[in-house]
């Protein structure tokens, strides 16, 4: 079993993970989230600066956590895309240097497929069954994938055509005067609210939209609808029922995410749904996914939360899977590709 170190720098988390085959040995995450808080969203230049400062200490910490030395490593894996270009380049530059310093092969992999790969690291003894539909939702992406083979056959079913779902949570949180990141704060406030208080729009769910965008998402209209609602109340001098707005907004997001994911399972005859990405931490998204999957006879898999948010262990795990499947290493001139398509599992 290959001992692989994975480097993830696609957004605001510097993640270094170490795995042996499908066994997790270390998962070190250094987040620049607090530096972005005052701006209400991830600032790419701030994220890229933080990656440069964090990467070497995070590698040292991961080696210590795993109890291995650099010389023990068999391969280096790195996220080459999709993600923020300047942030990705820090990881790619570092990964190439580490692979060359140690004279080990480099595997440049797809961040989204990495989220699916995280599932092989769960320690409950159950293996990922394929094919599976995967719903990956975070501040940086909202994608629905069909995974037939983790290392050779992944298809994009749909993705957001505007904001990522996590971004919508951040923007609505700002509107409501809640702190960044929006997800956990909206979740907290929404617990006291009525999810049926306001009927916010569900993006791309009308019949005419479904023809072209059956599995795509859109959250820009929802965000605008929430803003309009809040402005109307404030203009009229009324108090904004923050809990109800938060709960109704969260319900709209959870509804459309889970409805489309379960519909994909049914349409494609794939009775398995995997969730990944930081939005999995959202209690309502999880609960509604469980409820709808059960009703549709779809088995639902959710990796542990520490492996759902962006991390290097999932990148290392995908690298180890590629090695086990006999894939050749990536070329040393591989680039960071901010729009790397999901069909490119390895770059």
């Amino acid at each position: 079993m290959s001992l692989v170190l994975g480097i993830e720098t696609s957004c605001d988390e510097t993640g270094i993970g170490i795995v042996r085959g499908s066994t997790l040995l270390a998962n070190v995450i250094s987040s620049s989230m607090e530096e972005h808080a005052r701006y209400g969203g991830v600032v790419p230049e701030v994220a890229a600066r933080a990656h440069l400062e964090a990467i070497e200490p995070a590698i040292r910490a991961a080696l210590a956590e795993a109890g291995v030395t650099l010389a023990d490593l068999d391969a280096i894996a790195v996220t080459s895309g999709p993600g923020l270009a300047g942030a990705l380049m820090v990881g790619v530059g570092a990964a190439k240097a580490l692979a060359l310093a140690l004279d080990r092969p480099l595997y440049a992999v797809n961040h989204l497929v990495g989220h699916v790969g995280a599932d092989v690291l769960r320690d409950d003894g159950t293996a990922l069954e394929l094919p599976t539909v995967a719903l990956l939702v975070s501040g940086g992406h909202t994608s629905l994938l069909l995974v037939r083979d983790l290392t050779s056959d992944v298809e994009l079913l749909g993705e957001t055509i505007d904001d990522a779902a996590g971004e919508a949570f951040d923007k609505v949180a700002r509107l409501l005067g809640l702190p960044y990141p929006g997800g956990p704060h909206i979740d907290r406030v929404a617990a006291e609210g009525d999810p049926a208080a306001i009927r916010f729009p569900r993006g791309l769910t009308l019949p005419k939209d479904l023809e072209r965008h059956r599995y795509d998402f859109s959250f820009s209209g929802l965000k605008t609808a929430v803003a309009r609602h809040v402005e109307r109340l404030r203009d009229a001098g009324q108090e904004v029922p923050v809990a109800d707005v938060a709960a109704s907004f969260r319900e709209a997001v959870a509804d459309v995410l889970t409805a489309k994911a379960v519909a994909a399972c049914q349409d494609l005859g794939v009775p398995r749904l995997l969730l990944g990405g930081g939005v999995v931490a959202n209690a309502r998204v999880r609960a509604l996914a469980e409820e709808r999957a059960a009703a549709a006879g779809v088995s639902l898999r959710i990796p542990p939360l520490a492996l759902c948010t962006d991390n290097g262990a999932m990148i290392a795990a995908l690298g180890a899977q590629l090695i086990a499947a006999g894939h050749a290493p990536s070329a040393l001139d591989v680039s960071a590709d901010s729009t790397l398509p999901v069909t490119h599992i390895q770059a």
């Binding site: 070497e56 380049m89 530059g93 990964a95 310093a101 591989v334």
Partner: protein, 205 residues
Amino acid sequence: MILAIDTSAGTSVALLDEDGTVIAERSTPDTRRHAEVIGPFLAEVLAAAPDVRGSLTAVAAGIGPGPFTGLRVGLAAARVLALGLGIPVLGVPSHEAVALRLLVAGEVAGRFAVVTDARRREVAVTVYIAALPIPAEAEPAHLVERLAFAPAPGLTVHEVAEIPAVWLARAAQARSAAGASFSDAAPLYLRAPDVTLAAPKRVSA
């Protein structure tokens, strides 16, 4: 042996012997492909002599100034290469490589400025006083509006588009030999990140 990396302009990687003899060098003026070319460049210089990995004593890193995205690629590579090889990383201002080259070639005397493009109609300027073995900084790297940049009388200006890693390595060797200190390889950004703290905009009229 010393390996030097500079990505503050194009990408330049060099491998030198202890006495400053160049063993291998790879450079490109391309300012858009740092993350790609750093891999093959490093691979080639590491393969240029027997047991380079075991013979290297330090990695010299150009700390800029330069456009941030590219600059970070070289610094990340230098720091992690040094970590992987268990040797120190020596941060050297990128302009110092040019200053040393000019001094050794006898092209400068007195006070002189090394200038590179900083984008956004600005230039990055470091003013040196001719001195060997280490060029002395009279004014550390700073940004000046290109059109407003008026060098003082007697100050010669040398604007360059490339930073040679060979001379960065020699600058590091000169500092080492003289017992001078090195920076901790922190980048010379000279600019705060671009961020706008816009309040949420109204969506209804």
